[in-house]
């Protein structure tokens, strides 16, 4: 598809930075939005942790600012709102914008050698749908009666008018629907872009694994986000017009079924966890290779195991519903299918380890974060096996063990993976270098607390602490867990405070950092072969791809250990006789 037009660069501020159709600008808009909501969701988490460590004590600083009505104390209702908001914001308004909206937009066209997305206007529309969604979400915080408090899963009957009357919950349901709409618009764009706009010579197995991850994410999004949409549509009908899809009981003649929503929710919800982690898997698979200066081990196996995981993710949703009086046969099928996922996941994991094995590691900041992802994802993945197992899950369901498990996989891993991506593409996006020391400090202040926090959660969960418990002192058998909860909380505060290294580094470097070279990491993928930041139309000449994305230490190349994807090996070096013998000898 080399006949892509070069659109003239917009000149007005509005068209250039606000209603831009340039994928690079939209990516930055998404990243900024995601970071703001990451801060918001993180603040909510800190308030939750404060209540669990010091039950009934007014929250310092934030309590005075945000909780006037209760005198700074996190009341039970505020507590439920907080964990609801924390979950929904982190998933739909922080991770999704940063990894999918931000890096999806940034990396896909640049790494496949395209001048923009295939539908630039749809891309802009996707961002602005997300903005509307965010506004609706923020509005829900301000309406009388408070925001949503039914958990991010919005299970009926908690989320019907009986469980949470008031406008807040309705607005959140609408906000989630709009966020889903934005995601689907983006997904359609990504899928079509990858199919239609790959540079000449770039087959599917020449794409960087980042693009593989993002592309598969987009496919899952297009397939499964609408299922959540249907649940939310029916739920909002229930709330607004008084239909009875999910309302049951003596009040309603021929009422509906609350479990129905759980089915719709988890048909979407299980693929969603892979939607969140797949971009990170892709990025990490690439980064480990780039910074170990070795080709990614088992490139095809990695890509294909991601495909297999996507397929399996569609048929395991029942493991979220073991406790809903499911038939044992069905339950066992879901259990076996869920456990089978560990096979492709293990292929992926072993490939990562094999990629860094005997590599000449460059422990740059993005590499540190990638290694962090490998570490926490390993822990999280292992704990998933406990929860897939029905007899274990009957005990562990809705305990902090679940919280620890999904935070290790889709919070800690995605959190570290997002920062790996931000640091890695920082020079390309903003054309400046970040401060290395602050970056490394940020890493250590992230990886150590995050591991302690979520591993201790596994521990308190195993001891029986319920997932949405308001006060540990409510039950005698949980009172002894208070010190452990305080450990989690204070470590979490350290983690939160440690982000100051990132914020200061980011704010300074985006505007004042040292000018970045075009290819500071010395890697061969297409986006690093053009200036930093790239020009409006990305590529003056659409490149012709000759090599795979991880061409390191090719014996035919002299003087450097990497090879650009569109770089022709000079014939005289290629024909050097001793190289030929060396190859023949192997």
């Amino acid at each position: 598809m080399s006949e892509q037009h070069i659109h003239p660069e917009p000149t007005t501020f509005i068209r250039k930075y606000v209603f831009s159709t340039d994928h690079k600008v939209i990516a930055q808009q998404f990243i900024w939005m995601g970071l703001i909501f990451l801060l918001m969701g993180g603040t909510m988490a800190m308030m939750i942790r404060w209540q669990l460590a010091n039950p009934g004590v007014p929250v310092p600083i934030l309590g005075k600012l945000l909780l006037h009505s209760t005198g700074g104390i996190v009341s039970p209702y505020i507590y439920t709102s907080l964990f609801t908001g924390h979950g929904a914001i982190m998933i739909f308004f922080a991770i999704t914008p940063i990894m999918i909206g931000g890096f999806g937009n940034y990396c896909i066209p640049l790494e496949i050698g395209a001048r923009d997305m295939v539908f630039p206007t749809l891309n802009m529309l996707s961002f602005w749908t997300m903005v509307i969604s965010c506004l609706v979400l923020v509005a829900s915080l301000l309406v009388p009666g408070g925001t949503a408090a039914a958990g991010w899963t919005t299970y009926p009957t908690l989320s019907t008018n009986i469980g949470t009357p008031g406008l807040g919950q309705t607005l959140v349901v609408i906000a989630l629907f709009l966020a889903g709409l934005s995601t689907v618009q983006g997904a359609v764009n990504y899928i079509t872009t990858v199919i239609r706009l790959r540079a000449p010579g770039m087959g599917y197995f020449d794409m960087p694994l980042t693009v593989w991850g993002l592309w598969l994410t987009a496919i899952l999004n297009a397939l499964f986000v609408p299922v959540l949409g249907s649940g939310l549509i029916l739920l909002s009908f229930d709330r607004l017009f008084g239909t009875h899809f999910f309302v049951t009981g003596a009040l309603v003649k021929g009422g509906g079924d609350p479990l129905l929503f759980q089915h719709l929710f988890w048909i979407f919800g299980h693929p969603e966890v892979y939607i969140l982690i797949l971009p990170v898997w892709g990025v990490v698979s690439d980064l480990l290779s780039f910074f170990a200066r070795k080709p990614a081990f088992g490139y095809k196996a990695t890509a294909l195991s991601m495909v297999v995981i996507c397929i399996l993710s569609a048929v395991v949703y029942g493991h979220h519903m073991y406790l809903t009086t499911m038939s044992p046969l069905l339950g066992e099928s879901f259990m076996v299918l869920t456990m089978i996922i560990s096979v492709p996941a293990m292929v992926l994991f072993v490939n990562w380890l094999r990629t860094i094995w005997q590599g000449s590691l460059r422990l740059e900041v993005p590499m540190l974060f990638s290694l962090g992802v490998v570490f926490v994802f390993g822990l999280g993945g292992l704990t998933g096996l406990y929860l897939a197992d029905i007899p274990q899950d009957l005990y562990l369901h809705d305990t902090y063990f679940v919280v620890g498990h999904f935070h290790l996989t889709m919070a800690a891993a995605v959190f570290l993976g997002s920062f790996a991506s931000i640091y890695y593409w920082f020079p390309k996006i903003w054309g400046r270098m970040f401060n290395n020391t602050l970056g490394k400090l940020h890493f250590w202040f992230s990886i150590v607390p995050i591991t302690i926090v979520f591993c201790t959660m596994l521990l308190v969960g195993y001891s029986g602490m319920q997932r949405r418990l308001y006060n540990v002192e409510s039950y005698d058998f949980l009172k002894r867990l208070l010190p452990l909860n305080q450990l989690i909380s204070y470590t979490a505060f350290t983690l939160f405070t440690g982000q100051i290294f990132f914020v200061s580094n980011f704010m300074y470097s985006v505007f004042r950092g040292r000018k970045a070279p075009d290819n500071p990491w010395e890697v061969g993928t297409l986006e690093w072969q053009i200036p930093s930041p790239p020009p409006h139309h990305n590529f003056d000449i659409v490149p012709t791809v000759i090599h795979g994305p991880h061409e390191f230490n090719n014996p035919m190349v002299k003087g450097k250990d990497w090879l650009a994807q569109d770089e022709v090996i000079p014939p005289e070096t290629a024909e050097a006789p001793h190289v030929e013998t060396q190859l023949a000898g192997e």
Partner: protein, 200 residues
């Protein structure tokens, strides 16, 4: 695209490669959207299978004549829309405009008759918030579908107005194609709704 396009793609290929990208994107958008409707029909199947009788005792059966007439109307409008696309492909903009105008009229007629249907059903004692899932299914499915028809009517009206100002010709008519696809999609959803809600 590095290599030759596969045969299936070539067979589908419209005038330009860009058109094919648009077509592919639209197929995916509608595919995604059909999963949204799929979820709603899944919910309908769920509540209907768990209900002991359908319709529940004491509630009226839904009318069949009016929805059947509406099915014919929408079918007809799909035909005019497709004819309009054929016309613009041959460069006959005036013909396209007339046919799309007919599509808009038929779509509006459909919406009017749906309104009559809602009033009739309401009068027969089935309101949205008092009849359990039976009423919920009828109103939610038809209203949500009607919103899509309304969107389609707006979109096709935009095409009619655009054609008046000389937009679109044989070489460039991507919006005509996409709105036609959307129109067929909405029609297909109605067909499923008609069969599953009114006939069965």
């Amino acid at each position: 695209m590095s290599k030759k396009m596969p045969a299936a793609v070539v067979a589908l290929r419209p005038r330009a490669k860009e058109d094919f990208s648009n077509y592919l994107g639209m197929v995916m958008m509608l595919g995604s959207w059909s999963i949204l409707f799929g979820g709603i029909f899944f919910a309908y199947a769920g509540v209907r299978m768990s209900a002991p009788t359908w319709p529940p005792p004491g509630l009226p059966k839904l009318p069949l004549a009016l929805p059947a007439a509406n099915t014919v109307i929408l079918g007809l409008s799909s035909w005019t829309a497709q004819r309009a696309l054929g016309a613009i492909r041959k460069g006959r903009r005036d013909e396209m405009q007339a046919l799309l105008g007919a599509t808009v009229v038929l779509g509006a007629l459909f919406l009017g008759l749906q309104y009559v249907l809602w009033t009739n059903v309401r009068a027969s004692g089935l309101s949205i918030d008092s009849a359990g899932t039976y009423g919920s299914v009828f109103y939610a499915l038809t209203i949500f579908h009607a919103l899509h028809v309304a969107a389609g009517v707006c979109g096709v009206s935009y095409l009619v107005v655009g054609a008046r100002f000389g937009k679109w010709n044989a070489a460039a008519h991507a919006p005509v194609r996409m709105w036609t696809m959307f129109w067929h999609f909405v029609d297909a959803v109605w067909l499923v709704t008609f069969v599953s809600v009114f006939v069965l």
